[in-house]
Symmetry: C2
Subunit: 319 residues, 2 copies
């Protein structure tokens, strides 16, 4: 099957109509009309088989996740997603794989009204690079460098499920009832787009939790010139995670596991309660998990205030 047919197959699946797409897939480039009074927010993230998703992951889930991790980055800026471009490298022209991939991609794209405006398929080992483009009111993007001493630290949703799924994958414990729920968090992360739009202009700093809470808050701490203290006992956990691991293992997964795609943010203490209430009203509960203090780095303490050794500080590629 020719490259053009594969792109056309994907395009037919992803048929979101947006008036601001002047010219979509099918020319040398897309022509798009950004709204006035806004800034453009742009990011790119690549998924590689065996690195960012387990070998054997369903094609539809790969399509979903490839878009989700990028919408999560836009959410962390407080941006509203609009357009995406897809660079898909495939070992061979497999229309069945592409169709399933496109269906997962399209399902999430439709949920956020994102139009696929550029596509490129090439032959090679399976890899998916998505560029996501969105908008934020000028000057109101959420950044990593705005955390201030005494700010409260929050995280949306729950942490650790995806890492727990990876831990159990391939073991006899896959048969446990909780596994399917954990696996769904790994395969179909929900980008916190609505939460990001509630946070924008209000949170002092924000990041999405992709490499692990400690690693990601480490970026906020370094870029803001502060330290962050995490109350490990406060880390929000799903029932599935609570049913699957004891406190010690659970907290390690939550602090270092990654692939959560929740938003971690800081907010001046005086505004924290109102912001958390607005988030809850938007359908995305957030939990206070710590505070910004003077110093550097990220530190976790247990319920008694005793420091927890962070032996696994998130993961990095090539680490």
């Amino acid at each position: 099957m020719a490259e053009f047919d594969l792109i056309d197959l994907i395009r037919r699946r992803c048929d979101i109509a947006r008036a601001d797409v002047r010219l979509g897939i099918g020319d040398d480039a897309a022509v798009l009309a950004p709204p006035s009074g806004h800034e453009l927010v742009a990011c790119v993230d690549t998924l590689v088989a065996g690195v960012h998703f387990p070998h054997g992951t369903a094609a539809a889930d790969i399509g979903w996740k490839a878009l989700a991790v990028n919408l999560s980055d836009l959410a962390a800026m407080g941006a509203t997603p609009a357009w995406a471009l897809l660079a898909l490298t495939l070992p061979q022209a497999d229309a069945e794989f592409v169709d399933a991939f496109a269906s997962g991609f399209a399902e999430l794209a439709a949920a956020h009204h994102v139009a696929l405006v550029g596509g490129d398929t090439t032959s090679g080992p399976l890899a998916v690079a998505v560029t996501a483009l969105g908008f934020v009111a000028s000057g109101r993007a959420l950044r990593r460098d705005g955390a201030r001493v005494d700010d409260a630290v929050y995280v949306t949703g729950t942490l650790g499920d995806a890492a727990a799924a990876l831990r159990l994958l391939g073991s006899a414990r896959e048969a446990e009832p909780a596994f399917a729920e954990l696996r769904a968090r790994l395969d179909r992360p929900q980008p916190r787009v609505a939460a990001g739009t509630v946070l924008h202009g209000r949170a002092s700093a924000c990041i999405d939790v992709s490499d692990g809470l400690v690693a990601d808050l480490g970026h906020v701490a370094r870029q803001s010139g502060v330290a962050i203290e995490i109350d490990a006992a406060c880390l929000p956990a799903s029932p599935a995670l609570l049913a699957s691991f004891d406190a010690h293992e659970r907290i390690a997964l939550q602090l270092g596991g990654g692939d959560d795609y929740e938003l971690a943010f800081t907010v001046p203490t005086a505004q924290a309660h109102a912001l958390a209430e607005d988030l809850a009203r938007s359908g995305c509960a957030a939990t206070r998990i710590g505070r910004v203090v003077e110093g550097s780095g990220v530190h976790a303490i247990d319920a008694d205030g005793v420091p927890i050794e962070l032996s696994r500080r998130g993961w990095e590629h090539f680490a």
Copy 2:
């Protein structure tokens, strides 16, 4: 070496400062300020080793070409490039490779004042996906669907050098004096950005020649609902190509070879001469190579008007 260090290494090499980059690499996403009165033009193209460049290609040339093929797509829309995002997949963390790659990428980026605003490095088989973003005055983008019967067909520069280099690669003929020139066209294509800005609003249709002249003009013909007739005797050839192949082989390379990254365009005959003169003044000569006629498809004729069999209609991945 960690992913973050690789991106930082690339960022240091690509240090183009643009006032419209509100927030560059180093947060979840870039924040960019599009100019008013313009549309955003966006494209993505992936290079895979062994498919889009020969194994053993110098890292600096891969970096150059990964950006060049995307700037060529923007040029084909008449757009002025502004920003790029890079998704780099590497077999291992190789700082030397990344540094050389970044130097080639940065050299071309600097020539076109393009800022690298997003980067992602992952471990996996070598592949490079670049998203390029640029601007065109609203409503003036060059498209593929505007060719009209009786328009003249032109191409910038010369055709066939890159295909000739691929043909000679690995043979004893690499020692011929012309090979280095042909190889440079393969490794360091020059995107026709200045020509695109001369053409925009004046050419009736435009496409960049990446898959081969016949294949690419085939898109113009199909999307415009016309046929295109090419005078094979008029195809512009470099001295290096003329020195390396007889007319029969040369024309096959020029019609079907691909990787030229020249602009093929159509223009109403009455305006053709003035447009070609303006192009020449901009430093990019264009040659009249045919005409738009009624019908469908792309047809080539020799100097006597006899049809040429097009056995190799450009190349497609997975074909």
